[in-house]
């Protein structure tokens, strides 16, 4: 199976390990990500101010381009997923018609069909299927206690994304179960990590991230799994230095590990050294 894929800017720079590992893991489990040509930044955050059209141009241009290639677009980064899916919802007629017409007239290519914005996790669950995926596992992550952290961008606004239960999402937990790991219950799987407040209010972002990590630890997690480069950064790097950090993996790294990718292919060098040590200590690499 082939999918049109939108990587997004962070996956081409600081989160290269999310992009590269995901492409390889996808091949291992039976699908191919074809990067769409000449994509641009999605804007990283959806703008809700009613009269701000300029901020919508980025995602709308991407969707118009993607619509030439197919009716589905796969994303990996939680922010890209959120922004593109909300922009598509606006274009589908849930927004101001005048705004929509002006935006579509502004971008150089027409939107030839509505684009269904998918997350990699949705492809795994709905198109590949858990049973099929289970048969591709060559290295069970037996006994690995992980806290699956979804954050805000994967689940809210729930009525637009309709991705999973906004208060208690499950899809990543199901995936970890299929890979042989043991997802733990914890309280803050959809709580904000502080996001971009890290730029000017690192103290506030740290407070948010600390609470999530400590709660995951209290519920017995040995590692955290996430989908978003910014969540990964905040949860891994911000918590107070005094506490022993929990390794924070992308779900694609654990998928790749279970599907037989080599340690090098997982791109662990971009994580903290704790992540590599942790997997070694568990006998998984």
């Amino acid at each position: 199976m082939d999918y049109v894929y939108y990587p997004g800017c962070t996956l081409f720079t600081k989160a290269r390990n999310l992009d590269e590992c995901a492409r390889k893991a996808a091949e291992r489990v039976g699908f191919t990500l074809n990067e769409m040509p000449s994509w641009n930044c999605c804007g990283a955050i959806y703008n809700t101010t009613s009269d701000d059209l300029a901020a919508q141009v980025g995602p709308v241009r991407n969707l118009a381009k993607a619509s030439q290639l197919g009716d589905r677009l796969v994303t990996l980064c939680a922010a890209c997923y959120n922004v593109l899916k909300r922009a598509q919802d606006m274009l589908n007629g849930h927004g101001d018609a005048l705004v929509r017409d002006r935006l579509l007239a502004f971008v150089e290519e027409p939107l030839v069909q509505p684009v269904k914005v998918l997350h990699f996790l949705e492809v795994l669950k709905n198109d590949i299927g858990w049973d099929n995926l289970r048969s591709r596992v060559v290295r069970e992550l037996a006994g690995l206690k992980v806290a699956c952290y979804y954050g805000c961008l994967m689940v809210r606004p729930a009525e637009v994304l309709s991705f999973d239960n906004p208060e208690n999402p499950q899809v990543m937990d199901e995936l970890m179960g299929v890979l042989g790991a043991a997802p733990v219950r914890f309280d803050f799987k959809a709580e904000c990590c502080g996001g971009y407040l890290v730029v000017n209010r690192r103290d506030v972002a740290r407070q948010c991230s600390d609470r999530i990590v400590e709660n995951a630890r209290a519920w017995g997690a040995e590692a955290i799994v996430t989908t978003c480069p910014l969540c990964q950064f905040n949860l891994e790097r911000l918590p107070a230095a005094s506490a022993s950090p929990l390794p924070v993996f992308y779900f694609t790294q654990l998928l790749g590990l279970a599907a037989g990718l080599s340690e090098h292919e997982l791109g662990l060098t971009s994580n903290t050294p704790t992540a590599t040590e942790f997997l070694r200590a568990k006998g998984l690499t």
Binding site: A44, T49, R156, P157, G195, Y196, R201, C208, L230
Partner: protein
């Protein structure tokens, strides 16, 4: 009415000493007059905030679910429910000058849990837009330090500048 501490917390077994108080009497009392209206002032900025955000501040009945769920609620001043209350009372200027609107990370927990369908993240965004359009950047991209640029993922800068810079 509530003349003493004793009658504030009456013993349930005690016979009522006064007939039930009608609320309209309460509001009509000269010393505790309350004006129940969302239009106590004619601050044009309230209309602007409502238009930019697409929200109606009078819809909020102050249950506080938004503030309870807000991950930054303890640091945010005013927190969501109080911010909306300021708008209801015609004190938009106080909210626009506050720190609180700059601490919202648009995680959308408040709006998701609001039983009245009010999305405070949009209200905060409208407030920030009004301030930013007055050419007052909150985060100046030129002041980001080299170590931060090296370390923090791009999407954070993109989002931060989108939300906090002119």
């Amino acid at each position: 009415m509530l003349s003493s501490e004793a009658s504030r917390w009456p013993n349930v077994r005690q016979a009522p000493t006064q007939p039930p108080v009608c609320l309209t009497h309460c509001f009509a009392h000269p010393k505790i007059s309350v004006q129940v209206s969302s239009h106590v002032t004619e601050d044009p900025r309230l209309g602007q905030i409502e238009e930019l955000s697409g929200q109606t501040v009078a819809d909020c009945y102050q249950c506080g679910c938004c503030t309870a769920g807000c991950p930054i609620g303890t640091a945010m001043d005013p927190p969501p429910s109080k911010a909306i209350r300021l708008l209801q009372l015609g004190r938009a200027g106080e909210l626009l000058a506050s720190e609180g609107i700059w601490l919202c990370a648009s995680c959308l927990v408040c709006g998701t849990r609001c039983p009245r369908g009010v999305d405070y993240a949009r209200i905060a965004e409208a407030c920030r837009a009004i301030v930013l359009r007055g050419r007052h950047s909150r985060v100046d991209p030129d002041t980001v330090t080299e170590p931060d640029l090296e370390e923090i993922p791009q999407q954070a800068f993109m989002a931060s500048f989108r939300k906090f810079s002119v």
